[in-house]
């Protein structure tokens, strides 16, 4: 079943719909947020076939949706959003992904680009030293099972109590860095073993620590509320729950595969395996997923501590403190309340490669952000740009308070490795003032800017669609990768 442009109905310049009747089993339509310029690339892979499959999930509400950074995944497309009815709609580990609570955190410094321009190479090397990265690379902490359970229960708070984080940071993290439903007993010993030495590590693949300068301000009022100004130096951290999260997803997918017949669920793709949230298997997964999400928030809090150590080592006291601007997940399921057909309802929102983008007046937000909406952090590729956006009322109405999560891949890793000379790319980036520290040339080639869509077009789409509004564009000046 290949989907063509003619199968889609254009609703707006930035919104396309595959009608519910397109294929048997779809319970809702499938919606694609993309400018026409992006749509051809989206139609090149199987993203939309996967999106149509998501529309068959029992209990799905309104529509299955993808953001403009969508690309083919396994089961769910990456960049997908699906909300199911609470409590008897399904929860699907495939709708969250293996890297549970992969997400982004932004730290703001007091320094201007001009003040650190000549120290960037030194800073990138120090960040590479302080923040462990790469495959199979452990961190400075080795957690006992007892201590691991505390991390899984307390999330970022654990780092604070152990002196690796700041109490003040918690207010600036989605869900304050702790999902209360987490139950460490629902996480297998294998998962705990995989994660026991991974706190404070970024891993490999598309994960990174990136130093940026604020290049453009689009919304001065929101930027002021977030404490952002032109020329300011900031740090982006992109990573998740590491091997612990991967194992949680693997364990519970297997359980769900066996349990599905009991609930009479048949699906077009095994990787969409799901059960009702209210079922014991659904509850077990949700509580384990929350625990893995807490691990990820604790991980990013520890990495912040490591970044602060690197910052202080390079700039001393004059560098000041790195302030946490915000931390937001893009691979997660949350129980949230949304307005559906004029009625306020609890729903289970799956975001797989999609970012929460809650609008103004959201109680969870720190006071300073409440009038402008939640910060949304969109990393681009290492040679282009990243963005800070703000959540909107319109995203609450249209996409269950969700927006895009990055630039989105457009080239396979294999092709990128064949097309890109990593050493040459590192040299070119350096000539542009971007210092790259990486564990392997192969990793650099796989993540080369050419492998990604144009982040400016992706962001332009969500801005036009009002799924988030542009606040600031960041330009990378140093990148640390595994």
């Amino acid at each position: 079943m290949s989907i063509k442009k003619t199968d889609l109905q254009q609703i707006e310049d930035y919104l396309w719909e595959l009608p519910r009747g397109f294929r048997p089993g779809m319970r809702v339509p499938a919606r694609v947020y993309a400018l026409e310029k992006l749509l051809d690339a989206i139609l090149d892979d199987r993203s939309l076939e996967q999106l149509a499959n998501v529309a068959t999930l029992p209990g799905i509400l309104r529509a299955s949706m993808v953001m403009p950074d969508v690309h083919e995944g396994y089961g769910f497309p990456i960049g997908g959003v699906a909300a199911t009815a609470y409590p008897d709609g399904v929860i699907s580990p495939g709708g969250i992904g293996y890297d549970i609570n992969c997400g982004v955190r932004l730290l703001a410094s007091n320094l201007e680009y001009g003040q650190i321009k000549t120290r960037l190479e030194e800073l990138s090397k120090e960040l590479y030293r302080q923040v462990p990265s790469g495959m199979g690379q452990g961190g400075i902490l080795k957690l006992s099972l007892k201590e691991m359970d505390k991390v899984l229960e307390q999330g970022a708070e654990w780092a604070v109590t152990k002196g690796y984080g700041r109490e003040a940071n918690l207010a600036f993290i989605e869900s304050h860095g702790r999902l209360q439903e987490a139950d460490p007993d629902k996480v297998s010993e294998q998962a705990k073993k995989r994660g026991h030495d991974q706190l404070g590590t970024i891993g490999s693949g598309n994960h990174f620590v990136e130093v940026d300068r604020v290049e453009d301000i689009f919304d001065p009022a929101a930027a002021a509320a977030y404490g952002l100004r032109s020329g300011q130096v900031v740090i982006l951290i992109h990573t998740g729950s590491r091997g612990l999260g991967h194992q949680v997803a693997t364990d519970h997918l297997r359980i769900m595969m066996s349990a599905m017949p009991k609930y009479g669920i048949e699906l077009p793709d095994r990787e969409l395996a799901c059960v009702p949230l209210s079922a014991p298997e659904g509850q077990d997964y949700f509580q384990a997923m929350c625990a893995a999400a807490n691990f990820a928030w604790c991980n990013r809090e520890l990495i912040t501590w490591e970044c602060q150590a690197a910052w202080k080592k390079v700039f001393g006291k004059s560098g000041g403190e790195l302030r946490l601007l915000y931390d937001v997940a893009h691979n997660i399921a949350k129980i949230e309340e949304h307005q559906i057909d004029g009625e306020r309802r609890k729903v289970i929102v799956h975001r797989k490669g999609a970012t929460r983008a809650f609008g103004p007046r959201f109680d969870e937000l720190p006071e300073a952000y409440r009038q402008v909406g939640q910060p949304v952090l969109i990393p681009g590729s290492m040679g282009t740009a990243s963005y800070v956006l703000a959540g909107t009322d319109e995203s609450m109405a249209a996409s269950f308070g969700s927006t895009c999560h990055g630039a989105g891949r457009r080239m396979s890793r294999t092709k990128a490795k064949k097309s890109v000379d990593a050493a040459e790319l590192i040299r070119k980036l350096r000539n542009k003032g971007i210092y790259v520290q990486a564990g392997s040339h192969r990793g650099v080639a796989e993540e080369a800017p050419i492998a990604y869509k144009d982040v400016n077009l992706v962001v332009e789409t969500v801005h036009l669609a009002r799924l988030a509004r542009k606040v600031a564009r960041l330009r990378p000046v140093a990148v640390v990768k595994g």
Binding site: H71, E72, G73, I78, Y98, Q190, T250, T414, R442
Partner: protein
């Protein structure tokens, strides 16, 4: 005969496995997984393999059995920080497997496979009488 073919996928690793026996298909999956994690690590088979683990899997059908087995091997890779070179299948039926896997410390990985997915997996006998399936590793 076993065959491992690498296919295109935008973000992950997609393979087609073929073998003339079901045992061969499981061996192909095992070899592909460990070969990606640390290419050439097993060499000519002459180096000692000090790590040995028993693997026991029961699944709903043969496709799930292959994916679940490889997931267990991947868990062992990460738990032991090892690469596994030898698969000894002690018993294999359509839904159950007992095996011993033998390997050695990897000294770092070259590919971080997050998971073995069920997406597109479909173990079947093809028109040529070979066992065949697609597999996608999340990387």
């Amino acid at each position: 005969m076993i065959s491992i073919e690498y296919l295109s996928h935008i973000a992950d690793t997609r393979l087609r496995l073929r073998a003339d026996t079901l045992e061969g298909l499981f061996t192909a999956g095992f070899t592909a997984l460990n070969g990606l994690i640390k290419p050439e690590a097993c060499g000519d088979g002459s180096s000692p393999l000090p790590i040995s683990k028993a693997v026991s899997v029961q699944s709903a059908d043969t496709t799930a059995l292959l994916v679940d087995f490889l997931s267990d091997v991947l868990t062992a890779v990460h738990e032991e920080k090892a690469v596994f070179c030898v698969l000894r299948l002690l018993s294999l039926s359509a839904t159950r497997l007992e095996a011993l896997i033998e390997g050695k410390p990897a000294g770092g990985f070259e590919e971080d496979i997050k998971a073995v997915t069920y997406h597109e997996a479909d173990v079947r006998l093809n028109a040529e009488g070979l066992w065949e399936t697609l597999l996608i590793f999340d990387i």
